[in-house]
């Protein structure tokens, strides 16, 4: 293992060296960095040309410039030996500070999109595999192919035009006609009926239940003015928390008699979490990231404790499920706080909460939660645009991999020895179906980096993509190289992590 990692690190280092050299030469020959100055008229032209030539070492041959650039990069790695700047841009400013702000906003975009796409894609993929050749399966297949085929910038512009503007208008006056309610109920009901499937009677029951539930929930939300002043409250947290506890227990332990201790400890965790949220409500309302972290850790601890005390005979499973319930409750608390911050943000942003350009509202004077909600509002559309292709990818691969696993002999054996469907799917098939996704994630990360270039241009984010496109159009080599350096390093690292994860997850593969 150690040998493998060391060897991979050495190889990766040389690959990075070659990759940066290749891109450096391409960028160096992509145009004349003095172009805009040569078009100037006036007395200062020559002085400016001389200054830029000096700062970018344009009087040296390209390979010497590359070595000088490497030296700049090297300074960032060693603790001594001059300031770390990653070279200077064409106006003489250091690249590193620009890169730091850019990485921050791009990472927010990319990480959120990847995580959401992964979770949604895996869940959808599993469901389609379990309902192979159903209407839902065909529908998802078509949607996945459609997502593959959508140009990112086209769908981004359409999202901006139709989703953001119309939704903002609706949020200003959140009302629905009776017909609208019924249509919404029918659509959601039909969707659930398709997802769950089964014989005709079951489909009808599912459809009716889902449609009625949607209509009544929507009605209550509208009546209580939820879309103007949304919040869960402690009651909401408790109800959703208990629901999550039951759901997680049903998924991982089953609701039969043997899984009862798991259910009890998870529900206890949810109730205890709600009580803690009630006790700490002022602290949380004025909180920051540290408070969120502490509350989450505390709730995990509560879950572990509940599982330990109440979870016999399946103690370890109970501890895991209860800890997961604790995380869910913490998430609910956070969502509740964000929702409570909505009216203030709505006021502060002039009634257009969903944003289409930029990454944060300037001069926003609101508290911590409203600031977080503000940046989330900016994230919605770019994330949606960015995750479509990844979502399709994960769905397809999970489905294929799950189908492959479900046809294996050991799954048949598991069924033959009388295990129920849940145990076979969750404990035997699901885990193994996830293994190939480790490699896929590494590849997808590279693709998402490309996608971010386009998405940032459409949505006016000043991230890595923006840094790249502006610098490339301005023929400004060092910021472009900074982009390549970061993306190449990230991709190399992710590939290595994927290989290690693969070997860890699949013991048949040995790293050597």
């Amino acid at each position: 293992m150690l040998v493998f990692v060391t060897r991979r690190l050495v190889v990766s280092f040389f690959i990075l060296l070659a990759s940066t050299a290749l891109t450096f030469f391409l960028v160096a020959y992509s145009g004349n960095p003095l172009q805009d100055l040569l078009e100037l008229r006036g007395p200062q032209r020559d002085a400016k040309v001389a200054a830029r030539t000096q700062s970018l070492h344009l009087d040296q041959p390209v390979w010497i410039r590359y070595l000088l650039w490497l030296q700049d990069v090297g300074r960032c790695l060693s603790p001594f030996g001059g300031p770390c700047t990653l070279g200077s841009d064409r106006n003489g400013g250091a690249v590193l500070p620009q890169l730091q702000t850019a990485i921050g906003s791009t990472l927010r975009l990319v990480v959120v999109a990847t995580i959401l796409a992964l979770i949604l894609g895996v869940v959808t993929g599993i469901v389609t595999a379990l309902r192979q050749y159903s209407t839902f399966d065909y529908g998802v297949t078509f949607v996945a192919f459609l997502c593959f085929s959508l140009p990112v910038f086209w769908i981004s512009t359409l999202l901006k035009q139709y989703v953001a503007i119309d939704l903002n208008t609706w949020l200003n006056n959140p009302t629905m006609t009776t017909a609208g309610l019924v249509i919404l109920g029918v659509v959601v009901g039909a969707l659930w009926a398709l997802v769950i499937g089964g014989d005709r009677r079951r489909v009808l029951i599912v459809f009716a239940t889902a449609a009625l539930a949607t209509i009544s929930v929507m009605y209550v939300l509208l009546v209580t003015d939820f879309f103007r002043e949304p919040y869960f409250g402690i009651l909401g947290i408790a109800v959703f928390g208990v629901a999550a506890a039951v759901g997680w227990s049903a998924l991982f332990a089953g609701l039969h008699r043997r899984g009862r201790s798991v259910l009890i400890s998870a529900v206890t965790t949810a109730v205890a979490g709600a009580v803690i949220a009630l006790l700490l409500r002022t602290v949380i309302a004025e909180g920051d990231w540290l408070v969120i972290l502490l509350v989450t850790l505390g709730l995990i601890a509560v879950g572990l404790l509940a599982g330990y005390l109440l979870g016999r005979p399946t103690q370890r499973l109970a501890m895991r499920v209860s800890a997961l319930t604790g995380v869910t409750v913490a998430l609910l608390v956070v969502v509740d706080q964000l929702l409570r911050a909505y009216p203030a943000l709505f006021q502060a942003t002039g009634g257009r909460p969903i944003k289409t350009t930029g990454s944060a509202t300037p001069n926003l004077e609101v508290d911590f939660w409203a600031t977080q909600l503000d940046s989330l509002m900016y994230l919605i559309l770019p994330t949606l645009a960015l995750m479509l292709a990844s979502f399709a990818l994960y769905t397809r691969y999970t489905r294929a991999s799950m189908l492959d696993v479900m046809g294996q002999d050991y799954v048949r054996t598991a069924r033959a020895k009388g295990l129920n469907n849940r145990t076979v799917v969750v404990r035997h098939a699901f885990r193994n179906a996830l293994i190939p996704l480790a490699t896929l994630m590494a590849f997808d990360f590279a693709a998402i980096f490309s996608g971010a270039i386009v998405t940032e241009t459409v949505f006016g984010w000043s991230g890595m993509g923006k840094l790249f496109t502006t610098s490339l159009s301005n023929i400004d080599p060092n910021p472009v190289m900074a982009f390549f350096l970061v993306s190449a390093t990230a991709i190399v690292l992710f590939n290595m992590l994927a290989d290690i994860a693969y070997a860890y997850l699949d013991p048949r593969i040995r790293l050597a």
Binding site: V11, I15, A18, L26, F148, V492, N495
Partner: protein
């Protein structure tokens, strides 16, 4: 000549090549049964006959795939529409306007005259651009250019990827490590970024140059796949047999191994085309791809992005065509994959 080679290298015939174990016998029986089922029977006919049958089986499986069939039809219709409507090169088309013609005044504000009920084309079915050009003709021109770029990218990347993968998979050793490390280096660079850097400077050299250059950066995944196939195929008995009768490496690669990898290559080439359409549009959108006065679908989208508020149809049409092409090509690729990989077809039954 042949006999000499064998005499020189008698150890070339591996002793374990004889089907002695029960397992191998079972495999052969299985293959025989399969052949009998597919109606191919024992190989009485000549070699070309067998190849034709293989092709027929694949074609039959492909056309069973409904989505792939639909994709093929849609793609054929789009290509036909693009090249017949405004003509190509010296050949005139049936559409009355040319994409370079300007009309000083916009008819009805340049609104599209296409209507579904009652079905009618009207004078300007897709409307008119801001400068008074017929938007149908413009879109068709962009469609032509984008299709040409996509096919060039598909061909170039397939050739480069196949050659690199085949050479490194077959020869192994130093050549393999050099080529594969080079592939690794290429993979560390985000595709759109490297394409932007390269295409930015040669944008003026026309769509063919752009297509070739994009092909030169998109071959990496195919090279890896082909290498993997070659690595396993070169250990097979029929390759040993060919080598033992003195076939040259070139002959073994092209006549013996490559035909066995045609499935993955075809699928990959198809997907490369749909990827290329999206890559070209993204590049043109960022201003690093096709440059005015050339037209492509991506460039049209870029130019009329600002028109989204007032005249959204200028933005819709090129996008719809991009999605249609990409979607149909993806479905064709899916159908091909099923057709070439019988294991998957069985799962689909």
């Amino acid at each position: 000549m042949m006999a000499q080679d064998i005499e020189n290298e008698p150890e070339r015939i591996p002793p374990d090549n004889v089907p002695s174990t029960e397992l191998e016998m079972a495999t052969f029986v299985g293959i025989d049964n399969e052949l009998a089922e597919t109606g191919m029977g024992p190989p009485v006919g000549s070699a070309p006959m067998a190849a034709k049958t293989e092709f027929r089986i694949v074609a039959k499986r492909f056309f069973r795939h409904k989505a792939a069939r639909a994709g093929l039809i849609v793609l054929a219709l789009i290509i036909l529409l693009a090249f017949s409507s405004i003509g190509f090169g010296p050949i005139p088309g049936w559409w009355k306007y040319d994409y370079t013609e300007f009309e000083p005044t916009l008819t009805d504000g340049g609104a599209p005259t296409l209507s579904i009920f009652p079905p009618a084309w009207g004078d300007h079915p897709f409307g008119q651009s801001n400068e008074g050009r017929d938007y149908f003709a413009l879109t068709m021109r962009g469609l032509q250019q984008s299709l040409i770029i996509a096919f060039i990218v598909g061909i170039v990347s397939t050739i480069v990827g196949t050659v690199i993968g085949a050479v490194s998979g077959y020869f192994r050793g130093r050549i393999e490590s050099v080529l594969m490390r080079f592939t690794d280096v290429m993979i560390t660079i985000p595709l759109l970024a490297i394409a932007a850097v390269i295409a930015g400077q040669i944008g003026g050299s026309g769509i063919v140059g752009l297509g070739v250059l994009l092909g030169l950066v998109t071959w990496t995944s195919l090279a890896r796949i082909v290498r993997g196939e070659f690595l396993s195929l070169r250990e097979k008995e029929f390759v040993d047999a060919a080598r033992s009768v003195g076939a040259s490496s070139r002959r073994i690669i092209f006549r013996h191994i490559l035909p066995n990898t045609v499935g993955v290559i075809t699928v990959s080439a198809t997907l490369a085309i749909s990827g290329a359409i999206l890559l070209e549009t993204a590049l043109s959108f960022l201003n690093f791809g096709v440059k005015s006065p050339d037209i492509s679908l991506g460039l049209l989208l870029q130019q009329y992005r600002q028109a989204m508020d007032v005249r959204p149809y200028l933005f819709w049409w090129p996008g719809v065509f991009i999605v249609l092409i990409s979607l149909s090509v993806n479905f064709i690729g899916d159908g091909l994959r099923d057709a070439f990989d019988p294991r998957q077809t069985r799962a689909k039954a």
